[in-house]
Symmetry: C3
Subunit: 267 residues, 3 copies
């Protein structure tokens, strides 16, 4: 078995009802028929670039080096917003220049960024409303087949591209303040408070509070508390997460992204 | 990298909750383990053959020659309706004979059509309620492995198969009359009015009207108009499309397939 | 074309909006880049192990020998519940020990079962809340690459693992009693009454009853009855199924899993 089978992932807000995702795959496979394709998700809420930025940052850690990740959440399609190819953290990214790669670029100071300006790699005629299919998909295929980043257009500086103001947690004397950044399909509330933000005491002494409720003690897993109880733990991406054992914390607390969360030390 | 990796797509009304799609893939891969599988969509509304016909016609242009497209929207499964294998436009199609291939057949006067009658290529016993798994899937696998269309059953004439009466646009003296044929997941209204139907004036002079509203000027892309404004443009498949920049035209206009649309020349 | 391309399927309750499924795929492809991945479904209702058990039992018959099926519906993740690798019916399975493999184990008295205890095959650090990504996915990849079941941990007896009490049909003198076990996306009601449970008379004499309604005669396919009529037939997995031609039996009868169904002989 080869250890070099090329791998391309797709993250979009196209949903599962339309043919748009399949069209991108058709274009990729027309050029690179042997590529392995993986859907990250196509259920990014329409035009919510921030959700895409979080999804991509979270997913890529599980992928092998040189994977090409295409991210298409593109409310500005057709306008003069740029399209970017980025090498960062050993992986590769293609996206409109709208902030979807914020986390990726911010986390690697040696990231290489290029604008896509070389039309010989594109599918023609280019539809002004579907650059994902006509520009990003064929560029991904050519990249995975061995073209260098520099072939696709000129280098740009990280300081010149759009970056979103991602909510950061604050570490204070009495603990950490952050917020819910994502609600998963189980209703678990994923926050932006990382392990390193936590006060250095035994996990059992930590108190995680949201609205008027608190979970005392940071657990290892959901089933550690009785069914229906609020549970706080470090989730599978190393962030504080609030759940309900076999239930939905989002529904019980009526919480959504932006809800403030604090972690303090109990008595 | 080989340039001949076989490619099969699937378009169904099976949804994403049941195991039906996976069963078709299991049958295909049991026969042709190296095939590349692509889902076009499984969210065709139950038994809406017309939606499948539109989806397939739209998706195939992005796929390489010889791709096999399986289309299963099959309210008549088990009855004496035929099953078809079709070569058209350089690609290949398998579907119940119920009109799902109307556009494909109508657009290629040299299409080759055969009925599937040769049971040696089928999975046995054939379930009377799942021909997709037991007939179309194994035939797709054998076809992609090199069998000829004629091996699967006798040729039939295009005039003898079911074709749907697809709504056509009308080009008159004062402009084009058509209708909404599809609403995508962004709420964009895709019509059946093609570029060739448009009056030969500058795009800025065209007026696209639906119900009591009009968009003046054919844009290139959604973001050309202010957020929340109605936008008319030529969509990514070359048809007039009505959208709302960063919003849903379907919700704003309460429009669905069948809604009449006209394109006229403004003053 | 090789006849030995490795094949791994995934069945989860992760839904399609989160990145969890993609992360599992990324881990698998990091180890076994050439594997063929098939989604069975990710729409198992959250933590409904019984639904997963039914889905897996149903899907596997369409897959080739040695396929590895990963099943992750895991309300007890992180607790001391075991993780299992099972060889049964010529295929291979990975799942938490929670009953998701009940049908698979019950149907093959020579099934081989091992507990996963050998951490050298896992991804580290192992998240206590995502064993699917950090234990099952990498073990699946190593298994498909040629490792033996026994490498992953010690053998256990089928009598020591969790098995669900799956509803069984009862065959009496006057007919068969069973229940709805699954509602598919068309609204068809799939029961647990198998062909072998049916009274040995001509199918036309059988009467299938649910609530106060009956369908007289077992049909071959839905379209055998007028549009909108109740239809009973043997579904594509050999179980009695109640549908409505071009409609939803679930909506018309307001029926869900657990609803009692009987098959008797009419006059």
């Amino acid at each position: 078995m080869s250890d070099s089978r090329p791998l391309i992932t797709l993250t979009t807000d196209f949903g599962y009802a339309d043919t748009y995702v399949a069209e991108m795959k058709g274009v990729i496979l027309s050029i690179a028929p042997d590529v392995q394709l993986v859907d990250v998700t196509h259920a990014i809420p329409p035009q919510e670039v921030r959700s895409a930025a979080l999804a991509v940052a979270q997913a890529i850690r599980a992928f092998p080096p040189k994977t090409v990740h295409i991210v298409v959440v593109d409310p500005g399609v057709g306008s003069d917003r740029a399209l970017l190819a980025v090498e960062a953290a050993g992986q590769r990214f293609l996206s409109p220049d709208n902030g979807a790669l914020t986390e990726v670029i911010d986390n690697d100071s040696s990231a290489r960024l290029h604008r896509l300006t070389e039309p010989s790699f594109w599918r023609h005629p280019v539809s002004p409303t579907f650059h994902g299919r006509d520009i990003l998909a064929p560029v991904a295929a050519h990249w995975i087949l061995g073209r260098d980043l520099a072939d696709f257009g000129p280098e740009v500086s990280a300081s010149t591209v759009v970056r979103l103001d991602m909510p950061r947690s604050v570490r204070g004397e009495s603990g950490a303040q952050g917020q819910v950044v994502r609600v998963d399909s189980f209703g678990n509330l994923v926050t932006n408070i990382a392990r390193a933000d936590l006060p250095a005491v035994e996990p059992q002494r930590l108190v995680v509070s949201i609205f008027a409720e608190s979970a005392v003690g940071l657990c290892q897993y959901y089933a550690e508390r009785p069914v229906g109880s609020l549970v706080a733990l470090l989730g599978s991406h190393g962030r504080v997460e609030i759940g309900v054992n076999q239930g939905s914390a989002a529904m019980r607390l009526n919480a959504s992204p932006g809800a403030p969360v604090s972690v303090t030390v109990g008595r």
